[in-house]
């Protein structure tokens, strides 16, 4: 049974739709690269920036590679390039 996944949007990613968006994901989860595709499809204003290759996914407070699997109940976030100092 699909569940809703809340995806937090950080930094400039929050400019278009606010600080989070939701997606339905299946019990088998989905890889990060498919998460990018699903977010781009459902929230098209994010598509250009997600296609730029500089956005990273963070799952359960760990930055993960594109082949990582996001599962129901995970805490997911998308990070644009970071800048401290």
């Amino acid at each position: 049974m699909n569940q809703s996944l809340n995806v937090e949007l950080c930094g400039k990613l929050a400019d278009s739709y606010g600080g989070s968006v939701t997606l339905d994901i299946s019990p088998s989860g989905l890889p990060v690269r498919e998460l990018f595709e699903a977010v781009s499809s459902a929230y098209p204003l994010l598509a250009p920036i997600l296609a730029g290759g500089r956005i990273r996914a963070c799952v359960n407070e760990t930055i993960v590679p594109d082949d990582a699997i996001i599962r129901q109940g995970d805490t997911a976030a998308l990070f644009p390039p970071v800048s401290g100092g």
Binding site: C10, G11, K12, C58, E61, P80, V82, S83, G84, G85
Partner: protein, 151 residues
Amino acid sequence: MTAFVEVKQEVFDPSVCLSQFTGRIGDEGAVVSFTGRARGQTKDGLPINALVLESYRGVTLASMQQIAADAHAKFAITASHVIHRAGRIKPLEAIVFVATASPHRRAAFEAADYLMDRLKTEAVFWKREEHANGSAWIEPTDADRSDVARW
């Protein structure tokens, strides 16, 4: 090794932080500190009302702790203190403070420089300048990337 890393929401006084740092360390002969302050103008000369620094849960602090650990592994420093502001910062308030200590000066200088280069490009923050005409996100520059590539 003693690495102390903090994210602060409130204003801090770098001179007090430096004094506390030197009070905590032992008999090292070298102490280096760096303070980064919020600028008063954008690159285009517009007055800045505030710099807003967003952080993310425990990931921000963890990224800073990793950078500090790497500095201790790479240089012969005995202690370090890194403070980074988050939230809304007014011009000329301190954004970042780095202090390092070592028996001799070179390691302390280099470690402070290294810490700042890594923080600029890898610490998990997002910066937005607010000015009279709106706001703009600030990302690492090519110069920031070439600075960190030196190490």
